[in-house]
Symmetry: C2
Amino acid sequence: MERIYDIGQLFDLLGSEEIKSIKKVTLQGWVRTNRNSGNIGFIELNDGTSFKNAQLVYSSDVDCYELLSSLRSGCAITVTGELVLTPEMKQPFEIRVTDAILEGGANESYPLQKKYHSYEFLRDIAHLRVRTNTFNAVFRVRNVLTMALHEYFQDNGFMYVHTPIITTNDGEGAGNVFDVVTHDSDDENSFYGQRVNLTVTGQLHVEPFALAFKRVYTFAPAFRAEHSNTVRHSSEFWMIEPEMAFCDLNGNMDIIEGCIKHSIKTVLEKCGPEMEFFNTQVDKGLKDRLNNVLNSEFKKMTYTEAINLLQEAVKSGHKFDNSDIKWGMDLQSEHERYITEQIVGGPVFLIDYPKEIKAFYMKQNDDGKTVAACDLLVPGVGELVGGSQREDRLDVLEAKMKELNITNLDWYLDTRRYGGCYHSGFGLGFDRLLMYVTGMQNIRDVQPYPRTSNNIKY
Amino acid sequence: MERIYDIGQLFDLLGSEEIKSIKKVTLQGWVRTNRNSGNIGFIELNDGTSFKNAQLVYSSDVDCYELLSSLRSGCAITVTGELVLTPEMKQPFEIRVTDAILEGGANESYPLQKKYHSYEFLRDIAHLRVRTNTFNAVFRVRNVLTMALHEYFQDNGFMYVHTPIITTNDGEGAGNVFDVVTHDSDDENSFYGQRVNLTVTGQLHVEPFALAFKRVYTFAPAFRAEHSNTVRHSSEFWMIEPEMAFCDLNGNMDIIEGCIKHSIKTVLEKCGPEMEFFNTQVDKGLKDRLNNVLNSEFKKMTYTEAINLLQEAVKSGHKFDNSDIKWGMDLQSEHERYITEQIVGGPVFLIDYPKEIKAFYMKQNDDGKTVAACDLLVPGVGELVGGSQREDRLDVLEAKMKELNITNLDWYLDTRRYGGCYHSGFGLGFDRLLMYVTGMQNIRDVQPYPRTSNNIKY
């Protein structure tokens, strides 16, 4: 057997001197397609180290011809052959196979036969759909996007913190939590001696770390037991929650803009073939939209201005599903998209929201009516990030928590009692960012094994 | 206000030309200690961007003298002053303060007054202990170790996969799982329409990704509802589970050795002051032990050989708590440590364990009695990593699962039905690796908010 190469390695070596010196290679991967015309055959082989396939050529004068010509889609093989550069052809190189081993077969019941498969069909075989072009691209970008976010925060002096998944608080008081229990005794809460649930946010737990390490972030699963059966809701998702001490709302928005731009830029640079695929096969305007974000200075607009502009739009005849625009309302996706797409024509932060529609920990502005929140709206989606400066005044925060009947967070108040300072943070839904970056329209199609209500086969 | 620097930045700039050009700086952080002798005072300021403190000097001829001299441990401040390099002193620079702002006070009830605090005491204030030297160092190393592991796998062509937390299977059939329920209807399983639990391992879910992307890894929380109240058990922990297609047991051990060495090397390189602290204050032999691992070639020994050697040790008079050494037994920590510390004197892989004491998915060896498993034992701890080649023969795996009455994993068997291949993987408990690297003796002291039974304040 010759030296084993990843197919991705060979593509990376194209144009180098090194590849010219390679005579024979061994590849290991899965047959995507196999066609032959009597005495010559062609196999598209993918080994998952590249979005692209390697082309194998085999002729009837090799011993393994019979084996190779019998291979169906899905088979795992080890092949050895001559590497031939073919710069004038559609594929830049081919492997003229001399030896082959069948590692694992796949018969006609293999669900991924060569034909069109709907996303719905593929969702039902989440363990196999990863072998298709689309999901190869999705999960490759998922990996690059994850590391791009880590890179941004690490390079900017943020420390990664693993906040807990099992917790006693429900974060924003939203209520829709999954409880965590054991069934080894009559008392389902006996393990911890109290009722516990899956976290909805790591923010409360990460704030004390910001007040010790200055800049920190979480990147972990979060959970909502919402029966929202939409394309953007999943009961289990990954979230990034940075938190910065000595940072006000403007500093917060700088970090949001920085991390969004860095992650988009990195994916465009590192995932050329994948992004080309999404741009042509999934979402025609994708690359233009992402480049527009990259090249925009993110605008800022107060919630109050936005309400005024939406009211003007209604007066001028624009119809929303909900056209009853009033100060104090929670904006719907249609309103957010109108603002970012029609009014601004690019990314925009809405700031200073009414305090009644935002979480208890957001800093109250001097007007007594609004809080120092910032939601980032982007074309094509609406809200992508939500953040705020935090209420750092102990008395104001205590009064607010009393009003909302939030108890059992005395430890959290310590962060305002002892060495508190102005600080800010935000939450970025990772799966939604991945949808935005790939143009995929359903959150179920960007998660390895999506967890939505009534759907948990694996 | 002058330009704001992180204290870590200033330490990083020491020895450069740049630092000589800096005249005045603004720092923001928390007072560790404050002492003054009438007309001159010294504050140790930490801002979490460095293990080390900056020394602030203030004299009675500045306006803010009264404020500064009143500051207690824990206060958050913004200070501006002249940066003076003091290479002949214990601290390499000091800040001669001219202006100061109190951001957040801390009175005498602040729990971290300057005195000795036991780990037990500090565990009860997990949200504040991060402001102490020890936990500053622990969580700084936790961050570096996390990224070192990501770096190793990314640089070696592995793709990061987010396997699900909520699942229907209990992985290794261990049984001690947390159930996930909702309480909004009579049926606690109504959300997903079936009983679900927190994952104990991502392995089964990541294998299908290995069989599409060749090399993948998880890095995510895992859960065990075990009432083991030991210093090494936590009900919630982070685990890394790499999985490689076309990789046998030897390839698996190469990757384990590579990732352990890379992560130790990176921590020693990047966390000099922290590791010096652990080596002097926490565990005197730490750095020698880690360097020994770095410089060792990891040995290999079969389980059967190990049993023979343990039996010989007993015959020669060595006493174990359990000295009834028999082939087929599960080795205890005392046996594992004897092998790695006394017999080998360095890291060693034990391979080819009896099939009865290992998981159903491990590949059966030709002897019919053992499986192609590998546990890495290291001095000072015992088992650090467990891995195996996977059973890729559909008929053998099906028979094994039938024998153990494992059902509802038909999707998993598809990975053997369609394009299966020889493949391997392992599990590395991240928190235990962090204990090993820092010398910290209790898992509760390396996790941000440890979750052990009957202990969940936050």
